[in-house]
């Protein structure tokens, strides 16, 4: 009995010890549980939320762009995409069998099929894979009808930017494209990080990108361990992009595009002389901006870049041309301001001699006796050689600057160029050479170093005929600062500081150039509208005419290769007695301003006045309608 008792005593003691140990261990586990769930709880709660909640950005729809009448110039169209969820396709024999069925219904290129099969291997089975984009309605319905046999196949609706007027508006509207690394680094907007997000790359799309873009919404979704979305927890809608309304008139823009059909490279600007509202801005050749938003292929891009007529350049704001005789009003105003009277007379024998050089007038046999008005009317070069020599290049340059030449006008587009108005100081700094008197003579007829853009020509002409106000151009009816919109107030432009008497001489001379007996643009007087046009032709030499050619009488442009021909220019306004619209036309290598540019300007101004007449009679029919946008001034 005794050993048995010892044994049970020993057992009891040790069993009690063991139980104590177990309780201690359980206590330890309890303490650990307390530590995890109470002491460290906040940290783990945060980690748990991070685990399960994902933020998703909701891209806002991009704002539309309309013309002054509300015509849509840039819209978002639905882009039907065919997507395939691999895990759902399993029941129908897998992804490959489904693709085979699909290729019987719609056109599926081989490389698309290969890409899909590649992606299936890489992605998780519940992630939809895009099989094809830009499905037509017919294809969508064909797939819809066969949907029961195609599990896992869905039609997804995305949005693509669409430009209904295509190439006609491309230079003004621009286009959208994928975000570049540089743009991503420069912006704080998280939207740019969205795959497939597109931002304005050119034109209005770029200049007003902030306003058009809108603000992103957010969606908080709960995801499981594999990243599959379980449900949406919270959703904050974004702010859709603003509609941007332009001062452009689509009908006019279309008319000009149609009118320029026969030309290879040209640009036209129509602007309100008082407000600076641009009514039309055309540059040809153009390109299809829709190709850009759908994604351009490398060959297409290369073709655009290598095109000798430079379709990607907006020539109205970035084409720099010597203004030729269009520059003569600037020279004349500088002369008036520096004591040369309008009656200053110069005899034109067809040339002027300076030292041992002979400067020719365009009219080989000379104009005879010229004063200021007749020199502009007939575009006599010799009169301007004489005046330019008297006034000097720096005074001419100062007047050019006041009229807005040689510097950017500040129009709300990207890529505008400044042109160039030479001065003595400029030549010394840029070329390191002294100024020669002969160069002043050349500047006097708008040749040589002088470079202007078609838009600058329109702006400077507007300043001549609007009472000397320093008008600047713009393209939108409203102001957009970031995302705040306010109506554009009627700007009060500062005075250029030219006496009305001087401006009156210019109007008289430009009137005469179109309507006078000997006017260079007499053939382009307005017809069929009760108004007249004033304006000035210009022909800008692309290369020097050699003495040999002059002697041979070879002035006919038809005999010269296109790229060596003169540029044809015209800047004009209408109505002549009360100017409201200014137009500038540049036809690259078009030959003479009076034959190539002035007729275009005439047709455009006639159309402008016709459109205005219709608008007035419309307003007459419905007098209660509030005036839309800004008035014609």
């Amino acid at each position: 009995m005794k050993p048995e008792k010892t044994r049970s005593k020993l057992f009891n003691r040790r069993a009690a010890l063991l139980l104590g140990g177990k309780m201690l261990l359980l206590g330890g586990l309890g303490a650990r549980l307390y530590y995890l769930q109470v002491v460290e709880s906040e940290r783990y709660k945060m980690l748990a939320e991070e685990n399960r909640i994902n933020f998703r950005l909701l891209p806002p729809p991009r704002g539309f762009i309309t013309d002054r009448n509300g015509d849509y110039l840039a819209i978002n169209i639905q882009n039907y995409r065919l997507v395939l969820v691999p895990e759902q396709a399993k029941d129908a024999g897998g992804v490959e069998a489904t693709l085979v069925k699909l290729s019987r219904l719609i056109d599926l290129p081989d490389h698309d099929l290969k890409r899909v099969l590649r992606e299936v291997k890489r992605r998780r089975a519940f992630v939809p894979i895009t099989v094809r984009e830009n499905l037509s309605w017919e294809e969508v319905s064909r797939i819809g009808v066969n949907a029961p046999e195609l599990p896992g196949v869905n039609i997804d609706v995305g949005q693509t930017r669409h430009y209904p007027y295509g190439p006609n508006m491309a230079h003004v509207i621009g286009y959208v494209g994928a975000v570049s690394e540089k743009e991503l680094a420069a912006s704080e907007d998280p939207l740019l990080e969205l795959p497939g997000f597109r931002i304005g790359k050119n034109g209005i799309e770029k200049a007003y990108d902030q306003a058009l873009r809108g603000a992103a919404g957010t969606s908080q979704v709960e995801v499981n361990a594999l990243g599959r979305v379980i449900r949406e927890l919270r959703r904050q809608e974004g702010q859709p992009g603003h509609e941007v309304r332009l001062t452009l008139d689509m009908r006019l823009q279309d008319f000009i595009g149609e009118r320029l059909k026969g030309e290879k490279a040209a640009s036209v600007v129509v602007m309100d002389v008082h407000t600076g509202a641009v009514r039309a801005l055309v540059s040809i050749p153009s390109y299809d901006p829709n190709a850009f938003s759908e994604g351009l292929r490398t060959e297409e891009w290369r073709a655009l870049v290598n095109n000798p007529y430079h379709p990607l350049t907006n020539k109205a704001i970035a084409g720099q041309y010597s203004p030729g005789s269009v520059f003569k009003m600037t020279v004349a105003l500088a002369a008036l301001e520096n004591g040369v009277s309008r009656d200053h007379r110069v005899f034109c024998p067809g040339y002027m001699e300076l030292g041992d050089r002979r400067f020719h007038c365009w009219k080989r046999w000379g104009h005879g006796e010229m004063d200021m008005v007749s020199a502009i009317e007939e575009s006599c070069d010799v009169w301007f050689y004489d005046v330019a020599r008297r006034v000097g290049v720096d005074r001419i340059a100062a007047m050019a600057k006041r009229l807005g030449l040689g510097e950017r006008t500040g129009i709300d587009l990207v890529g505008e160029r400044a042109g160039l108005i030479p001065t003595r100081a400029w030549k010394r700094a840029a070329l390191g050479q002294p100024w020669h008197m002969g160069e002043s003579l050349v500047v006097g007829i708008g040749q040589g170093y002088v470079l202007t853009t078609p838009l600058q020509l329109a702006v400077s002409t507007a300043r001549l005929v609007n009472g000397g106000k320093a008008v600047t151009p713009h393209l939108t009816l409203n102001h957009y600062e970031d995302a705040v919109v306010r109506p554009r107030e009627r700007a009060t432009f500062p005075d250029v500081g030219i006496p009305e008497a001087h401006l009156a001489v210019m109007r008289e001379a430009m009137d005469a150039a179109v309507n006078g007996e000997r006017g260079t643009a007499r053939a382009s007087r307005l017809r069929g509208v009760e108004a007249e046009m004033g304006g000035k032709t210009g022909t800008s030499q692309v290369r020097r005419i050699t003495q040999a050619e002059r002697d041979a009488g070879m002035r006919d442009d038809d005999e010269i290769a296109w790229r060596l021909r003169d540029h044809a220019l015209f800047a004009g306004y209408a109505p002549a007695h009360d100017p409201r619209y200014v137009v500038s036309v540049v036809v690259e290598h078009g030959g003479g301003g009076s034959t190539a540019a002035a007729p275009i300007a005439r047709d455009v101004l006639e159309e402008v006045l016709r459109i205005e007449g219709r608008a007035i009679s419309d307003a007459g029919d419905a007098p209660d309608l509030p005036a839309r946008g800004e008035g014609a001034g």
Binding site: F11, A15, L19, K22, L26, Q37, A48
Partner: protein, 383 residues
């Protein structure tokens, strides 16, 4: 040692009488744990009885039946067949070892069609029976000597080595520790444990070189979970996140975000405690730990009340095996020890573990029912 016959021998009980001797309190505690399991499995399936909760309930029901059968079989029969059961378990272990060599990779299962048998689980029970019988028959004085300890050490070493070769580190450790506890209860001197412990410590570097690559990785990941936050460390980290985010009172039944969104791995088996702690918080976790503590106390009380050494060792032995399941599982999901595949008894989904645990608890119940049965030192003595 003489055994007195005839005196104070407990009256033989009929089966009906025995039935009323069943410890209903213990059965209640066990059922409570299984109930927690059913509830958590119901939640794990997002409020569906399928596929886990209903089967778990059925298995528990079958398990209770098995437990009662085990409890009512005469304890002397268990002692008589203790070595036989051990031998069968050992043969099965060898069988899976051989099959494992033929087939590829680690094999731990024997497919009996009805149930997949895991010999290492059976061995946990068989080992307790065999050691209890050995120490029951051992002379008290002999426990103090070294020579009589050689046989039981070999009894333990054989299956431990076999299981280590499978390789199943968790089960091997459980088996070794459970056996050591029996040695301790039988009265083996503490310095001998210290000696063996030191020897084991010294041989650690050698053992390390025998470990499989994945086992080494698990231990290293445990020591520094940040090593591999998406691999092995991911489980521990996600378990801690789920548990910690449960807070004091939890996120509510069926509302555990981490477990329901599958951030929590193996939520229906090894990590079910985490799910409980996430949905019911510290309160729920502590309550389950409390239930387990009560079962351990019951086990202790039953063991010390028994009259025979065999019954005492058996009772304490199976209770300890049960406790080891609890400790290892909970410590693992809390990130206290490395991830080893040990389920939470009565709560985790899984057939074999349920069977082992219910058989073990049946033996504990058996000890209670036969608490007054006297067993001779030798089988023949007990008549």
């Amino acid at each position: 040692m003489r055994v007195r016959h005839g005196e104070l021998r407990a009256p033989e009980l009929t089966l009906g009488q025995k039935f009323w001797q069943v410890n209903w309190g213990l059965l209640l505690l066990v059922s409570a744990c299984a109930g927690v399991g059913v509830a958590m499995l119901y939640s794990a399936a997002n409020g569906e009885w399928d596929p886990w909760a209903s089967r778990h309930a059925v298995r528990f029901g079958v398990g209770v039946g098995a437990m009662l059968v085990v409890a009512l079989i005469d304890i002397r029969l268990w002692m008589r067949y203790a070595y036989a059961i051990y031998a069968i378990a050992l043969v099965l272990l060898v069988a899976v070892e051989v099959a494992g060599d033929i087939g590829m990779g680690a094999q731990r299962w024997i497919d009996l069609r009805v149930i997949q048998l895991q010999p290492s689980e059976i061995m946990k029970i068989a080992m307790v029976l065999a050691l209890a019988r050995y120490f029951h028959t051992l002379n008290v004085d002999d426990v103090g000597r070294v020579a009589p300890l050689i046989t039981p050490v070999l009894l333990v070493a054989a299956p431990v080595v076999l299981i280590l070769r499978q390789p199943d580190l968790g089960t091997a450790i459980m088996l070794a520790v459970g056996s050591a506890v029996l040695f301790f209860l039988a009265g083996v001197r503490l310095w001998k444990f210290a000696l063996v412990g030191m020897g084991a410590l010294a041989s650690l570097p050698v053992a390390w070189s025998f470990l499989h690559e994945y086992q080494k990785k698990r231990i290293l990941t445990f020591l520094d979970p940040e090593r591999d936050p998406l691999g092995s460390g991911y489980h521990i980290l996600q378990s801690k996140i789920a548990m910690g985010s449960g807070g004091m009172t939890g996120k509510g039944f069926m509302s555990g975000t981490q477990s329901h969104l599958n951030f929590l791995p193996e939520k229906q088996t090894d990590f079910i405690f985490t799910m409980l702690a996430e949905e019911f918080g510290l309160v729920g976790g502590a309550a389950l730990i409390g239930l387990y503590a009560l079962i351990m106390i019951y086990g202790f009380a039953i063991a010390v009340r028994a009259r025979s050494q065999f019954a005492r060792l058996l009772g304490m032995g199976v209770t300890t095996t049960f406790s080891l399941y609890v400790f290892i599982n909970i410590a693992m999901v809390m990130g206290v020890i490395p991830v080893v595949g040990v389920p939470l008894p009565l709560v985790s989904y899984g057939g074999t573990a349920m069977l082992t645990v219910m058989l073990g608890l049946g033996l504990l119940m058996n000890v209670y029912v036969h608490r007054d049965t006297r067993i001779g030192r030798r089988w023949s003595d007990s008549g």
